[in-house]
């Protein structure tokens, strides 16, 4: 019996294929293998023009794609991670944080604010895979919770775009508690009749999936995103057999009844607006 741990998955998910978007003019699509013109791919919402492969994108790009131009007003951006456990593995967490902050220019793995989506006001919160695999520690949990509370108070539809390896190990129990905190805040939003649309993107696993990400009133998933509780490798080690093709991908979740729609990136804005029109206040 292996140690069945939900949050084990995050580093086994290769680091964001960040090398898939090199600085060169051309890049090879990891899905269809075609050489594609980088600018054309970027202009196409970071989707391969040949095969519709959805490249992973950071929170800044995500906000740019979803919010009406110039409408995004960042909130809670003054929160900074600390190192409450003085955690040290092969590298100290404090050093890891500093390195990630310098590399990404961000404080932590989340970006939140108010915006308009096709003219509809909304609270938009996006996780960022480029910062420590989008893992949820105290800052991510607190930002998500404040977004939920703010949406509840202001009567705004809430959109959270998830991509994460799960809870952040370096804050251990405190990360685990963010799962309870965010989910409890969603209970209050629900009590107030507020709308929460959860958008799952590649990859969404572990403690993020097992808390707010699966609690959307409506849940969208981008095509072929890996979405699950345990990571594929952990499952494989436990059951000792090959995983079926497409297992834990968006289309599999749709078939299993776990998400409402698989939505291509180019349709995401209009699909969000449509649901807000039906269900938002």
């Amino acid at each position: 019996m292996t140690q069945a741990a939900s949050t084990r998955s995050w580093t086994e998910l290769r680091p964001a294929r960040k090398s898939a978007i090199p600085e060169g003019l051309w890049l090879r699509c990891p899905s269809c293998g075609q050489m594609i013109y980088r600018k054309q791919m970027e202009a196409n919402l970071h989707v391969c023009p040949e095969c519709s492969h959805h490249f992973r994108i950071g929170a800044v790009e995500r906000v740019k794609q979803l919010a009406d131009t110039g409408s995004f007003q960042p909130m809670f951006s003054n929160l900074r991670p600390t190192d409450p456990l003085r955690f040290k593995d092969l590298k100290a967490y404090a050093e890891r944080l500093t390195a990630e902050q310098i590399r990404t220019g961000q404080n932590d793995a989340v970006l939140a604010g108010t915006c308009f989506i096709k003219g509809r006001p909304a609270m938009l919160t996006c996780l960022d895979l480029t910062f420590m695999m989008g893992s949820m520690g105290s800052v991510v949990g607190e930002t998500i919770t404040r977004s939920i509370e703010s949406a509840t108070e202001q009567g705004l539809p809430l959109v959270i775009v998830s991509c994460s390896g799960g809870a952040r190990m370096q804050e251990s129990g405190l990360s685990l508690m963010q799962m309870a905190k965010t989910s409890a805040a969603l209970a209050r939003l629900d009590d107030a009749g507020g709308l929460f649309i959860s958008v799952l993107t590649d990859p969404t696993t572990g403690g993020v999936t097992a808390s707010f990400a699966m609690l959307g009133d409506v849940i969208f998933a981008e095509p072929k995103a890996l979405i699950g509780f345990a990571g594929p490798r952990v499952i494989q080690q436990t059951i000792r057999q090959e995983l079926p093709e497409g297992f834990q991908r968006s289309e599999f979740l749709l078939q299993s009844g776990l998400v409402d729609r698989v939505v291509a990136r180019q349709d995401l804005r209009s699909e969000l607006a449509r649901v807000i029109d039906y269900a938002g206040k």
């Binding site: 019996m1 140690q3 069945a4 741990a5 939900s6 949050t7 084990r8 995050w10 086994e12 960042p74 951006s77 003054n78 929160l79 900074r80 600390t82 409450p84 456990l85 955690f87 593995d89 092969l90 520690g137 105290s138 809870a167 190990m169 804050e171 251990s172 129990g173 405190l174 685990l176 508690m177 963010q178 799962m179 309870a180 905190k181 989910s183 409890a184 969603l186 209970a187 209050r188 629900d190 009590d191 403690g207 999936t209 097992a210 808390s211 707010f212 990400a213 699966m214 609690l215 509780f229 345990a230 990571g231 952990v234 499952i235 059951i239 995983l243 079926p244 834990q248 299993s256 009844g257």
Partner: protein
Amino acid sequence: MSTFYQLDFEKPIREIEQQIEAGEQAAKGPRPPDGAVAIDEGPSVDLAALREQRTRALERIYSQLSPGDVVRVARHPSRPQTRDYIQALCRDFAELHGDRRFGDDPAIVTGFGRIDSIKCLIVGHQKGRSTQEKIACHFGCAHPEGYRKALAKMQLAEKFGLPIVTLVDTPGAYPGLGAEQRGQAEAIAVNLREMSRLRTPIVSVVIGEGGSGGALGIAVSDRVAMLEFSWYSVISPEGCAAILWKQANEQTNNAAARALKLTARDNLELGIVDEVIREPLGGAHRDTAGAAANLKAWIVSQLQTLRQIPVDDLVKARYERFRRMGSFRQEDPETAQE
């Protein structure tokens, strides 16, 4: 004294106990007719002194367990499990089965019971004692139907005004094909959300292993305690070592156990649990009745207190309990860069 030994740090205790057993044998019957006839053991072993020595050894060893050793004690095969505690705590336990959707997961036990005179609903992970039971329970790793069963019964408790007692003892929720397909993540997430607003008192005790979301899935409670030699963390030490130390072996597992701050005392200091419940000398695996008595005293006192609180205040305080968890710095918004 018939503890099933396997922990290497208990070796000195075992040696003393062997002497005590030998002494007791010698004191009891006639000496064996042949073989090694009493060589030079002296007229009689000082049993009282040996027992005293054993007590001191237990005190010494168990007061300085490393986090890695605590994990070993928490997994001791003789450590009492949920069903053992139910038997010790409850008269008249009425087990309730099934999630009404898919099946009945034996890895989570639910049912009505009376602790002292308090009627309540009991929910707990069950790891299994016999090989057969262990396999059926997936060693305490619950499936989505286990979490859904737990919630369904907790909602029954809410409906009938019964307080809820949950006992946490899981390495983690089960990672498997069916579990994923039936929405393991969703099942846990829904429990977190719904437990936070259940209009009845909830108390939880981590009795052995508190592995990640699978543990939290039945522990969004008004009061949370840990038994002295249990662990509670976002990931198992082995899982953490495999990822952050790139390999899981004895040394990295111990390092991860230390780094994760997973002991009862650590969790108390982090504000994640409210109390550490003492275990009998040398751990619960030596004395189920003693452990159960301590557990019962805590549960009863908490439930008596919580019952006095108006339910609106109770639910609000539960929200606040989790709301304040976390550690971050808040910079002056003026100077914070956007």
